[in-house]
């Protein structure tokens, strides 16, 4: 990160914190945390450059992150992705705390235990207490657990891909001669519900409740409710919208201790539409704010939850041989360097941390927040995020 950007982050954080302090008198503090188990939610999004977010020209795309959440957060100006800047490798790196060099398309599980496995094994958590919910099409359910001996799927997370469900419903309807259903919210509801039938369910690539071939009644009713919410909403339908609604339902039904969710609307950049990419960034901004509002409104989460928000990586610089914002393949600052926001129980309002930290530090930080002891990994816990 260049000096000017650092200075900009500092000044904007100072300004925002001052404004917020005037309004609220004091920030969130550890005193508000109750004695029950702490909860951690990690929300990552696909590739987005600083220039489209916290850069001087980008803050207009993220009004909620900038105005509403930044003053409440510990803000990290330099998160370094030193691994393979593909989705599966990046996400599995921050889930394991070790840089992963596995198949980009999720054909193989992470090569070291995920934070889900550590948490379940050491704390004895049931599977319903750890969830991974993602919009990203480049992932498979193998992301939820490693194949490491003494760990593995029996300690893995529930893994669901709401956007894939939506895609399958749209493609399936068209393939079956029911393309007309794709134009109508009510008909689409039926198409989505049909995805839960066992013949379709297997194609979703989910891993829920031990990988059974059908959803159990609680999970099924949760998904049906998210579908209803989706078709009833007034906002444009998107993969991230559905992922968000599903996350909220999971929070309400299961109140997991550890929830990791990833958004990907901004990945429309791969198709070369800058306006759609930016629309994805704005959607991410809005949904992140809604998520925080939901956390604060939910007694299971209020006061004891730490929310970590970060992009997986940036995107390539304008003029790069890899076609700029379209991709995230360059070994460059714009691609490798991004930011992170910590909000809630483990964060300190208005703190800006300028030292570089790494994606693999996320897992160690989550382990620390959950009180885990035995988590050997490359990453180290970020000291500024603690209970």
């Amino acid at each position: 990160m260049d000096i000017s950007r650092r200075a900009f982050f500092r000044s904007l954080a100072a300004l925002s914190v001052a404004e917020w302090a005037q309004q609220r008198g004091r920030g969130l503090s550890a005193e508000t945390i109750d004695s029950s188990r702490p909860k951690v939610i990690v929300l990552s999004c696909g590739g987005v450059r600083c220039q489209e977010t916290f850069g001087q020209e980008g803050v207009g795309n993220i009004p909620h992150l900038h105005r509403d959440l930044l003053p409440k957060s510990t803000f990290f100006t330099q998160i370094r992705n030193l691994g393979v800047t593909s989705h599966y490798n990046t996400i599995s790196s921050y889930l394991t705390g070790n840089w992963q060099h596995v198949d980009d398309w999720g054909k193989t599980p992470p090569e070291s235990p995920t934070i889900f496995e550590y948490a379940r094994k050491e704390l004895g958590l049931p599977q319903d207490d750890v969830w991974f919910i993602s919009s990203n099409k480049a992932l498979t359910s193998k992301i939820g657990a490693s194949a490491v001996r003494d760990f593995g799927p029996s300690y893995g997370a529930n893994v669901i891909f709401p956007k894939q469900m939506l895609i399958n419903a749209v493609v399936n309807a068209a393939a079956q001669g029911r393309a007309a259903h794709n134009a109508n919210r009510g008909d689409m509801q039926a198409e989505l519900q049909a995805m839960l039938q066992s013949s379709n369910y297997e194609g979703l690539g989910w891993q829920v409740e031990g990988g059974s071939s059908e959803l159990g009644p609680t999970a099924r009713s949760m998904v049906l409710r998210a579908i209803n919410q989706l078709v009833d909403t007034n906002v444009p339908i998107s993969g991230d919208e559905f992922t968000y609604l599903m996350c909220v339902e999971v929070m309400k039904r299961f109140a997991p201790s550890l929830l990791v969710m990833t958004f990907s609307d901004m990945e429309a950049a791969h198709f070369g539409s800058y306006s759609m990419h930016v629309a994805g960034v704005r959607n991410f901004d809005r949904l992140t704010h809604e998520l925080w509002t939901e956390i604060e409104a939910d007694p299971n989460y209020r006061g004891k939850t730490t929310l970590l928000v970060l992009p997986e990586f940036g995107r390539d610089f304008d003029g790069s041989p890899t076609n700029g914002f379209f991709n995230h393949r360059q070994d460059s600052e714009e691609t490798r360097s991004t930011w992170m926001m910590a909000i809630g129980a483990g964060a300190r309002s208005g703190q800006v941390v300028d030292r570089p930290i790494k994606h693999v530090d996320i897992s160690a930080t989550v382990a620390s927040l959950l009180g885990l002891k035995a988590t050997p990994m490359q990453g180290t816990a970020v000291g500024e995020i603690r209970l």
């Binding site: 060099h101 980009d104 956007k163 749209v170 444009p236």
Partner: protein
């Protein structure tokens, strides 16, 4: 080693000689060179020249020099364990790319390859006669249908060049360029550029590329998003069955490369196999060329600059449709098939996309020394204005800040003559 004439396929004996040369190279360099050799007839003259130079560079080293130049990359490949990978030597497969990108030594490998290519090209240049420099022009058009504002259209260009007002109707400039295409062709042919890869017209809408008279010499390479529509849709349908498994994906891509597309290829472009091969390669390389007209215009133009180094490139951007409810979740699907809702143009967002992508074409040109002195013109018809990057001392670099469409057209011809 004897070299093939640029317009002929190498003989079997020559090819065998080339392959022996390639076999001496480090493993990770071989696929791209072999792939080009296999596609010799589909290469543009610039690519053939580049390949010849590369092979000439290899042959020019003494054995000791050769070993010294290859040693760093070979040592790195040994550390990476490339010899134990499932690594194709004959073509750049997805599996090759994936294995390289996942290696912890990937960044080092890229640098070592770059160093090796630099050394080879430096060796090839020793004693080679300098090619005469000719004027080059890039014309980018944001058509009147795109309501761009000043900020969106020209802010990205601020680092170089200047804004010029176009007196009258800016659309007249394109009309002149198309109607008097023979003038451009004359300038190109009299300065030795007779291959159709010397002049390109890439159209994100439709009528422009089809309006270029096919009898011009050189015949321009013309591609339009609309004209390619049936081909694109068929290609997209086939692409969408590519499985996520890399081995099978590579097989599917090979099938797409080899498929006989004659039925879908525009009949106006019949017989232009090299052009068809280029379009297939462009579609397969992604970047939205199969999905959005503006991405098609940008990525095709960037690939044209990289692969053909044309003297004249005209790229026009256009309108795309609004994403449709629900089916926009599956952008990679043919939207006319998955949704019965009518297409609705999205001029505002098309303008945003087109403006940044036009600038990307300008940035792509900057990567190549051939375009350091090129005239680059980005016309925003909606604003009756253009951003102009002209060579130092050229009239457009220093003269008045407004000009007529006819003057701009004349400036294009003058720049090609320079």
């Amino acid at each position: 080693m004897s070299r093939p004439a640029k317009d002929q396929s190498p003989s079997d004996a020559e090819l065998a000689g080339y392959r022996r040369t390639v076999a001496r190279l480090p493993l990770t360099v071989r696929p791209s060179v072999n792939e080009q050799l296999n596609k010799w007839t589909m290469l543009f003259p610039f690519e053939r020249g580049q390949l010849e130079n590369f092979l000439r560079g290899v042959e020019a080293f003494t054995p000791a020099e050769f070993n010294a130049v290859m040693a760093p990359l070979e040592a790195l490949e040994a550390k990476m364990g490339v010899a134990h990978w499932r690594f194709s030597e004959t073509s750049n497969t997805m599996e090759n790319s994936g294995q390289l990108a996942r290696s912890p030594y990937y960044a080092e490998w890229r640098q070592a390859v770059q160093d090796l290519f630099n050394a080879l090209h430096a060796k090839a240049r020793q004693g080679a006669a300098a090619e005469p420099e000719h004027g080059r022009v890039i014309v980018l058009v944001l058509p009147a249908s795109l309501p761009v504002d000043e900020h969106t259209a020209f802010d990205p260009w601020q680092a170089r060049g200047r804004r010029m007002a176009i007196d009258g109707d800016a659309r007249e400039f394109m009309r002149l360029l198309v109607d008097r295409w023979a003038d451009c062709a004359d300038v190109l042919s009299t300065t030795g550029s007779v291959d159709s890869s010397a002049a390109w017209v890439i159209d994100g809408e439709g009528p422009l590329a089809q309006a270029i008279h096919p009898a011009s010499v050189p015949q321009a390479s013309c591609l339009s998003y609309a004209q390619l529509d049936p081909f694109r849709r068929e290609f997209l349908a086939d692409m969408n069955v590519v499985p996520r498994d890399l081995h099978e994906a590579s097989d599917t891509i090979t099938m797409l490369e080899r498929r006989d597309w004659s039925e879908w290829w525009p009949h106006e472009l019949a017989g232009q196999d090299r052009l068809k091969n280029f379009v297939v390669d462009t579609y397969l390389s992604g970047n939205g060329a199969l999905i959005f007209s503006n991405a098609f215009a940008q990525w095709t133009s960037s690939e044209v600059l990289r692969r053909a180094r044309p003297r004249l490139l005209v790229a026009r951007f256009g309108l795309r449709n609004k994403p449709k409810p629900f089916t926009s979740i599956a952008l990679f699907e043919d939207q006319t098939k998955v949704s019965p809702l009518p297409d609705t143009p999205d001029p505002e967002n098309s303008a945003i996309d087109a403006a940044i992508l036009a600038h990307y074409v300008g940035l792509a040109a900057q990567r190549y020394t051939e375009y350091q002195r090129a005239l680059v013109v980005c016309v925003a018809e909606h604003l009756n204005a253009a951003w102009v990057i002209a060579p130092q001392n050229a009239p457009l670099a220093t003269g008045p800040v407004s000009l007529s469409p006819a003057q701009l057209h004349r400036a294009v011809l003058d720049a090609l003559r320079a």
